[in-house]
C-alpha cells in the first residue's frame, strides 16, 4: 500500500513534461461532457423537483394542474407559520409528530449502533463457528422488504399474538401493543403513582403540545415500531462495522493483549477508538434514516393510536395527499430537511477530534520521553502493572521500546 502511494507522485512528475502540450480548454469541455449525463439526471430528478417543492411550500397551490399556473400565488411564509407559530390543529399535529419522531430517534440511534457494534464484534471473532451463517442470519432482516417485516410485526405484536403469549409464560400480561397510546415515561411515572403532571409542566406548551406530553416518551405502539426498526437496521450497520473491524488488523489487538489489557479494555480503549470514522457514519445515517421514517408508519399504523406514531415525514405526506394542503406538506418536508441538517451538524461537532489541551499534550510528551529513556528490561517489568490504566499508551511505549 505505502509503496504504491510513494510511487504515484514520482510517476506524475515524470509525465509532467508531455502534459503541458495538452489543450486545457478541450480537456475541461470533455470533462463537463462526461459529467453531463449525471448532471442532467440529477438536475431533472433532484434539483428541479426540490426547487419546485420549495416554490410549492411558499405558494397556495391546491393540487390541481401545474403549480406554476396563473392562479397559484405567492403566500410568503404562511405555510410555515401555520405549523410553527399559529395555534391550531396544524401546529399541534406538527408538534405531536416532532415529539414522536424525536423520541424515536433518541432511542433508535444509540440502540441500533450499540447492537450492530456488538453483533459485529461477536461475528468478527475467529473462534466462532459458522460465522457465515450468523452473518447471513443477522443481515437477513435488512434485505427483506420493510412492508413484509411490518406485516409480520403487526401479527407478532397483536394483543393475542405470539409475543404476548410468550410474555404470559413469565406471568406478564403483555400490553395491546399497536393499540396502546400511553407514553412509556408516563407509564413508568404512573407506576410510582404520578398520574397527572405537575401544573408547571401541563400549563406550558410548545408547538401546541404541553411539556408534560413532550415528556411522555414513545407510546407502547411506537415502542413496538422502535423494536422493529432496530431489528431490521442493525444488520446493515453490522456489516459496516465488520468491514471496519477487518481493516483494523490484529497488530494493535495483540499488542494490547501483550500489555495485559482485559477484553473489556481492549474493546473500549483499543478497538472502539479505531472505529470512530465508522461510528460517525453509522450514527449519521441513523439520524437521517430515523427522521425520515415513513414506510413502517404508512403500512403499519398510519399514525395511530391517538397520533402517537405520527411522524414528520408521514404528516407531510398526509397533509398533502389526504388533506389537500400541498403547501403545508411541502413546508413540513423543508422543516424536516433543516432538522436533519442541524442534527447531523451537531453530531459532527460532538464527534469531532478535539484539539488536545496544552497540558494533556505536555503529559503525552513527558510520557513518551520517559519511555524512550527506559531500557527494554525496565519496560517489560513495567508493562504488567501499568497496562491496566494506560493500555493505549503502554502499547505505544512497547512499540517504541521494541524499535530501540
Amino acid at each position: 500500500m505505502s509503496a504504491s502511494q510513494a510511487a504515484t507522485p514520482r510517476k506524475g512528475r515524470a509525465r509532467k513534461v508531455p502534459r503541458q502540450h495538452i489543450d486545457r480548454t478541450g480537456q475541461e469541455i470533455s470533462g463537463w461532457l462526461f459529467c453531463l449525463p449525471m448532471i442532467v439526471i440529477l438536475g431533472v430528478f433532484m434539483f428541479v423537483p426540490i426547487l419546485m417543492a420549495l416554490w410549492v411550500s411558499v405558494s397556495d397551490w391546491t393540487g390541481r394542474g401545474t403549480p406554476f399556473g396563473g392562479n397559484v400565488s405567492f403566500v410568503g411564509a404562511e405555510n410555515y407559520t401555520d405549523v410553527l407559530a399559529k395555534p391550531g390543529l396544524a401546529q399541534s399535529d406538527f408538534g405531536t409528530a416532532l415529539r414522536n419522531n424525536a423520541w424515536y430517534t433518541l432511542i433508535v440511534v444509540p440502540l441500533q449502533t450499540l447492537l450492530s457494534l456488538a453483533l459485529a464484534v461477536m461475528l468478527n471473532r475467529k473462534i466462532l463457528k459458522a460465522r457465515g451463517f450468523f452473518r447471513t442470519a443477522f443481515y437477513f432482516p435488512s434485505v427483506t422488504s420493510s412492508v413484509a417485516i411490518t406485516v409480520l410485526w403487526l401479527f407478532l405484536f397483536n394483543a393475542a399474538g405470539p409475543i404476548n403469549a410468550m410474555l404470559k409464560w413469565f406471568g406478564v400480561n403483555g400490553p395491546n401493543w399497536f393499540n396502546d397510546p400511553q407514553g412509556i415515561i408516563h407509564l413508568l411515572l404512573g407506576a410510582f403513582g404520578v398520574k397527572n403532571g405537575p401544573a408547571a409542566l401541563t400549563e406550558h406548551s410548545f408547538l401546541g403540545v404541553s411539556a408534560w406530553d413532550w415528556l411522555a416518551g414513545p407510546s407502547v405502539a411506537m415502542f413496538a415500531i422502535i423494536l422493529m426498526v432496530i431489528f431490521t437496521t442493525s444488520g446493515t450497520y453490522m456489516l459496516m462495522f465488520i468491514a471496519a473491524l477487518q481493516s483494523i488488523g490484529e497488530a494493535t489487538e495483540e499488542a494490547a493483549i501483550m500489555d495485559g489489557a482485559t477484553p473489556w479494555q481492549r474493546m473500549w480503549k483499543v478497538t472502539v477508538p479505531q472505529l470512530k470514522p465508522t461510528i460517525f457514519t453509522v450514527v449519521t445515517l441513523g439520524i437521517i434514516g430515523t427522521w425520515q421514517v415513513f414506510d413502517q408508519i404508512y403500512t403499519g399504523t398510519q399514525g395511530g393510536p391517538a397520533k402517537t406514531t405520527l411522524t414528520t415525514a408521514y404528516l407531510s405526506y398526509s397533509a398533502a395527499f389526504n388533506s389537500q394542503e400541498w403547501g403545508r406538506g411541502a413546508a413540513i418536508s423543508f422543516i424536516l430537511f433543516v432538522i436533519i441538517i442541524v442534527m447531523t451538524w451537531i453530531q459532527r461537532w460532538v464527534m469531532k477530534d478535539k484539539k488536545m489541551s496544552r497540558r494533556k499534550r505536555a503529559d503525552y510528551e513527558a510520557m513518551k520521553a520517559e519511555a524512550r529513556s527506559m531500557t527494554k528490561a525496565e519496560v517489560m517489568s513495567l508493562g504488567a502493572c501499568r497496562a491496566g490504566k494506560h493500555a493505549a499508551t503502554a502499547t505505544a511505549t512497547a512499540t517504541v521500546a521494541g524499535k530501540e
Binding site: 480548454t25 448532471i39 419546485m52 391546491t62 393540487g63 406554476f68 399535529d93 393499540n179 395511530g304 397520533k307
Partner: protein, 416 residues
C-alpha cells in the same frame, strides 16, 4: 481564463435548469380556463374508471357493469382498482390527467371541489330526483352537486342470537333505551366475551351523540356543536358504558374492528353497518346474528350514515360520456345487481322497498336513513375528525368535556 470558463459553464447550467423549470411550468398542456359550461364530449376518448375495491366480488361486479355500458354506448371504458385511492386521485389531478370517473368519499369532496378538480355535473343528472336528499346534501359544495351517491350504509345494533338466548334473553328484550342497552350488555358479558364492542372512533360513537341530540356540526354543516350539553351527554354515556367493563372498544379486544370482535365471538353485540354481512358470511359463516335498531337516547333515535359517490374529473376529455356512465351505474337494475353481488344498500328512494323485500333481515339499516346524520364534510373536517378519533381512543381515562372542547375549537377554526 480558467475562472471565466467556469463562470460560463455555471451560467450555462443555470440557464439550462431554468429552462427546464419553465418547461415544467408551461408545458403540461393544461389550460386553466377549461371549465366552460358545456361538457366535453370527445367520445373517441377511452374512459377510465378508478375504484377503491373491497374485494374481488366488487371489482368483478363493477367491471361487468362498465363493460355492459361500453357495449351499449360504443365508448370504450376500463376499470382500474386503486391501492390508495386518495393518493392516486391527487396524483392524477396534479398531473392534469386524472381518471374520468371515480369513487369519491365525502370527506375528500371539499378539497377536490375547491381546487376545481371535480365536474359539478349534478344538474345534468337525469335521475337526480331519485336520491335521498340528505345524501345529495353530502355531495353538495358551495351550492353545486358534485357527485351522484353510489350507495349508502347506516349503523345499527348487530346481535349474536346464540349468546342472546344463552343469557336468557328473548325477542322482547331488544334494547330500546340507553338503560336497557347497559342492562343487556351486562347480562351478555361473561368470561369469554363482553356484551358490546365497537370501534373507538367518531364513525361509531357519533350515534350516541346524535341520540342525545348533539353531534359535531349542525344539520346544515355551518355551526360547530361539539361541546354542547347534548353532545357531552352522549359522550359521557359512552364513557359510562366503557367504565362498566361490559362494553369495550374492538381494539381493546385485540381485533381490528367491531365486525372482527363480533365474528370471533369476543363480543355479543356490535355497532356496525350493513357491510358487516359480507364480512361475516365470508370469514365467520357459523355466527348467527340479528340486526335491530339502535336504542333511543334522550333525543330519540339516532344513527350515522356513510356514503360514497361517483365523481367526474373536470379534466375529463369526455365528460358527457362520463355522465352517461354514472347515470347507467346508478340506474335501478345495476344498483340492485351491485346490492346482490357485494351487499351495498341503494341510495335511491325508488329502490328502498325493493331492497327491503330482497333483504328483509337487514331492513333496520334502510330504516336508519330516516334519522341518520353523516360526518362533517367542510374542508379540513377530515383532520378534525382524525384528531377527535385520536382523543376518543383515550376516552376511558380522559375527560369527555376536554375532548369535546378541543374538537369544538378545531371545528370553529375550519368553519369560519
Amino acid at each position: 481564463m480558467r475562472n471565466r470558463n467556469k463562470l460560463t459553464m455555471i451560467t450555462a447550467a443555470s440557464v439550462a435548469v431554468l429552462t427546464l423549470l419553465a418547461g415544467c411550468g408551461g408545458g403540461s398542456g393544461f389550460d386553466d380556463n377549461a371549465s366552460s359550461d358545456k361538457p366535453t364530449s370527445d367520445s373517441s376518448q377511452e374512459l377510465t374508471v378508478l375504484i377503491g375495491s373491497s374485494g374481488d366480488t366488487e371489482t368483478k361486479a363493477v367491471k361487468d357493469a362498465v363493460a355492459a355500458w361500453s357495449e351499449k354506448s360504443g365508448t370504450k371504458a376500463t376499470v382500474q382498482v386503486a391501492n390508495d385511492l386518495a393518493q392516486q386521485l391527487s396524483q392524477g389531478f396534479a398531473g392534469g390527467d386524472p381518471a374520468d370517473v371515480f369513487y369519491l368519499a365525502p370527506e375528500q369532496l371539499a378539497g377536490y371541489a375547491s381546487n376545481g378538480s371535480l365536474l359539478a355535473y349534478g344538474d345534468q343528472l337525469k335521475n337526480k330526483g331519485d336520491f335521498y336528499d340528505n345524501l345529495l346534501q353530502t355531495f353538495t359544495y358551495d351550492g353545486k352537486l358534485y357527485a351522484a351517491p353510489k350507495d349508502v350504509s347506516t349503523l345499527q345494533l348487530v346481535i349474536n342470537t346464540d349468546m342472546w338466548s344463552e343469557a336468557g334473553l328473548t325477542d322482547a328484550d331488544y334494547p330500546t333505551t340507553w338503560d336497557e342497552l347497559a342492562d343487556v350488555a351486562k347480562k351478555l358479558t361473561n368470561d369469554d366475551h363482553v356484551g358490546l364492542a365497537f370501534n373507538g372512533e367518531y364513525a361509531r360513537i357519533g350515534v350516541f351523540l346524535k341520540q342525545a341530540g348533539g353531534g359535531l356540526v349542525s344539520d346544515d354543516g355551518s355551526k360547530a356543536i361539539a361541546n354542547t350539553d347534548e353532545s357531552l351527554k352522549g359522550l359521557t354515556e359512552v364513557k359510562d358504558l366503557l367504565d362498566t367493563g361490559t362494553v369495550k372498544y374492538a381494539s381493546d379486544l385485540g381485533t381490528g374492528w367491531g365486525g372482527e370482535a363480533f365474528g370471533s365471538k369476543k363480543a355479543a353485540m356490535t355497532i356496525e353497518g350493513n357491510w358487516i354481512t359480507g364480512g361475516l358470511s365470508a370469514d365467520y359463516p357459523d355466527v348467527k346474528y340479528k340486526v335491530v335498531a339502535l336504542p333511543e337516547g334522550p333525543a330519540g333515535k339516532g344513527t350515522m350514515h356513510f356514503t360514497n359517490g361517483w365523481g367526474i374529473a373536470a379534466d375529463s376529455k369526455n365528460q358527457q360520456g362520463a355522465i352517461d356512465l354514472v347515470e347507467y351505474l346508478t340506474s335501478d337494475d345495476v344498483v340492485m345487481g351491485f346490492a346482490k353481488a357485494f351487499g351495498i344498500m341503494p341510495a335511491t328512494k325508488t329502490l328502498a322497498d325493493t331492497w327491503k323485500g330482497e333483504f328483509p333481515d337487514l331492513s333496520a339499516f334502510m330504516d336508519g336513513l330516516d334519522y341518520s346524520v353523516t360526518v362533517p364534510t367542510a374542508k379540513g373536517a377530515a383532520d378534525v375528525v382524525t384528531d377527535f378519533n385520536a382523543q376518543l381512543e383515550g376516552l376511558k381515562t380522559g375527560d369527555p368535556k376536554t375532548i369535546l372542547d378541543k374538537t369544538q375549537t378545531n371545528l370553529e377554526a375550519i368553519l369560519q
